[in-house]
């Protein structure tokens, strides 16, 4: 395992920000951490980076304890903070090279290529850049060293749609190279698009772990039947009814379902992937 946490807990006074988090991420995996503000996402990430000392439990990156051997742990990590603050008295290039030198790596060619891909003018002072451009500069310094693990706290904040797609593409490419990515986000669509697994945090607890490939297999079906009998077919679950409108989830081969539906008196039909939204709502929706 590249990253492992064991009963990781953080208290701020009487407030428990993170509650016995168990997590494992392997190389070449993209893991999404979901949850509203205050759910413990950033606390978890900050413990992994050695910024916070856990109240209980432990975390390791590449076998290095994140608090006691934080230096070696951080050597494996490229980090993009959620609240981005850069050295405003530097240009983008100066910042990237300064942080690169701290990692004892200078990759001028790769820097130029990536800056071109992100459409950044790195010769401009950071103080003069928009928040989106600043985030691009910060992403540049995160992606350049090609560390085994990337930790990104809400990385697509303030990015335009084109850049967001570009970034998600870069993350997929990182996965191809064997890098692991741990990122937190509020945007379910992008998490679903790029992640292999997703963890949902609620009040500091990991309440749900979801394999995204499995999620893609599950369909949400909304159908209006002429009759009143409940739909019964292998793979159907979570059935709800509102008059003649039925809603259910289906996990199984789609042709089989369609074959079965063809034999029913269906008046209206809508089939869509279940998606993360449905699961997320279960824990963080109004009725959660």
């Amino acid at each position: 395992m590249l990253l492992r946490t064991e009963q990781l807990t953080k208290d701020y006074g009487t407030c428990r920000a993170l509650d016995h988090l168990d997590l494992e991420i392997k190389p070449g995996e993209i893991f999404g951490l979901l949850g509203p503000n205050g759910s413990g996402k950033s606390t978890a990430l900050r413990i992994l980076l050695g910024f916070l000392r856990p109240t209980a439990g432990k975390a390791w990156i590449a076998g290095h304890d994140c608090w006691h051997n934080s230096l070696e742990a951080r050597r494996q990590v490229g980090y993009l903070p959620g609240e981005l603050r850069l050295y405003e008295n530097m240009t983008g290039r100066q910042l990237v090279r300064f942080l690169g030198r701290l990692r004892q790596s200078t990759q001028t060619d790769a820097e130029i290529r990536l800056a071109r891909a992100f459409d950044i003018d790195t010769s401009r002072p950071i103080a003069e850049l928009s928040s989106g451009m600043k985030r691009k500069v910060a992403l540049l310094q995160v992606l350049l060293p090609q560390t085994p693990l990337l930790i990104l706290d809400e990385p697509t904040n303030t990015l335009d749609p084109t850049m967001r797609d570009e970034l998600l593409g870069k993350l997929s490419a990182a996965r191809q190279r064997g890098q692991a990515v741990l990122f937190s986000s509020h945007v379910l669509a992008e998490v679903e698009k790029v992640c292999d697994r997703v963890g949902i945090l609620r009040k500091g607890r990991l309440v749900h772990m979801q394999n995204v490939a499995e999620l893609r297999e599950v369909k949400r079906v909304r159908a209006r039947f002429a009759g009143t009998a409940a739909p019964q077919f292998p793979g159907i679950r979570a059935v709800t009814r509102h008059e003649n409108d039925w809603s259910f989830e289906y996990a199984g081969p789609l042709p089989d379902l369609l074959g079965w539906l063809a034999g029913q008196a269906v008046q209206d039909l809508k089939i869509e992937p279940l998606g993360l939204a449905g699961i997320y709502q279960k824990y963080h929706g109004n009725g959660a």
């Binding site: 950033s42 900050r46 980076l49 050695g50 910024f51 916070l52 000392r53 230096l71 070696e72 951080r74 050597r75 990590v77 980090y79 903070p81 959620g82 609240e83 981005l84 603050r85 850069l86 050295y87 008295n89 300064f98 942080l99 030198r101 701290l102 990692r103 004892q104 910060a138």
Partner: protein, 296 residues
């Protein structure tokens, strides 16, 4: 890794450093001109007009209500008709102490609490760099910048003495050897180091630069006042050794050739060195143990 960080920190302070150096040097030059007026002209005129001796002037001016001036001048041993003695006053002048303390407090308060406040500490410590290296880098910056401040003061004294004609002056009381001021710079260095070390300790535990700055200024001012009041009012005298400014007495090192034979000089230097070292040590310990809060 350390040279990269130290270079960056030096780059950050270079403009401020240049300005403070100019300010310190300019004050020394100005003070040389003031010295020329007092030691060279005013005293002569007073003596000619009223037939007063130097001792009369000292007694009349600096005893009683003038005691505060004497305290600021650096004690009873200063001979106002001697240019070197008068020049040495600029090293203990409240303005000089204010500038040096402002530099030390301003820089050290921003060193850790300032970076946390701005949110850039997170960016820095996300790199493979130890927290102890951050504190040590600031120590190295102090060890580099404080001598520059000292040299700028000495440069100002040299230039001022040269411009007003003290160097090589045929009158013994007005003749100044600028090299004699060199040993006193050690005391200047250690005062700035001590104030910087104490502020660094506060900074290492703080989250907001302005809060640390305010606290350090209050502590500094309090120490300055206790030391000053202790010089003017005997009941407050026992409290003076609890202030760093009590240990800042560079004049004997500048005016006495055998200063190094006096144990109390070394004691004062030792205390300031210890305060600065303890301050940095505590900063190291505090910063390495603490949680790093998210920027607001």
């Amino acid at each position: 890794m350390m040279p990269v960080l130290v270079t960056k920190l030096l780059r950050d302070v270079r403009t401020g450093l240049i300005l403070v150096c100019i300010l310190l040097a300019a004050f020394q030059v100005l003070w040389a001109r003031v010295t020329q007026r007092i030691s060279g002209h005013i005293l002569d005129s007073l003596q000619q007009l009223g037939g007063l001796s130097i001792e009369d002037i000292r007694t009349t001016v600096f005893q009683g209500p003038g005691q505060i001036i004497q305290a600021i001048m650096g004690g009873e041993g200063i001979r106002i008709d001697h240019a070197a003695d008068m020049l040495s006053i600029s090293y203990v002048h409240p303005l000089t102490i204010f500038i040096l303390s402002t530099w030390a407090i301003g820089r050290a308060s921003g060193a850790i609490a300032g970076e946390i406040d701005r949110g850039t500490m997170e960016l820095l410590l996300a790199q493979p760099i130890r927290r102890s290296q951050v504190v040590l880098a600031h120590l190295l910056v102090d060890l580099w910048t404080i001598p520059v401040l000292c040299l700028s003061m000495w440069g100002g004294t040299f230039l001022g003495a040269y411009l007003v004609g003290f160097i090589g002056n045929p009158r013994a009381t007005l003749a100044v050897n600028p090299w004699a001021f060199g040993p006193g710079l050690l005391n200047v260095f250690l005062l700035v180091f001590a104030v910087s070390g104490l502020t660094m300790w506060l900074s290492s535990a703080g989250r907001f630069r302005w809060r640390v700055l305010g606290l350090a200024v209050i502590l500094g001012l309090l120490q300055f006042l206790v030391n000053l009041i202790g010089q003017l009012w005997d009941p407050a005298k026992p409290f003076r050794p609890f202030t760093v400014f009590y240990y800042y007495q560079p004049q004997p090192m500048m005016l006495e050739t055998s200063w190094y034979q006096h144990g109390d000089v070394w004691l004062r230097l030792g205390v300031l060195a210890a305060v600065g070292t303890i301050g940095y040590g505590m900063a190291l310990w505090t910063f390495c143990k603490r949680d790093l809060p998210a920027p607001l």
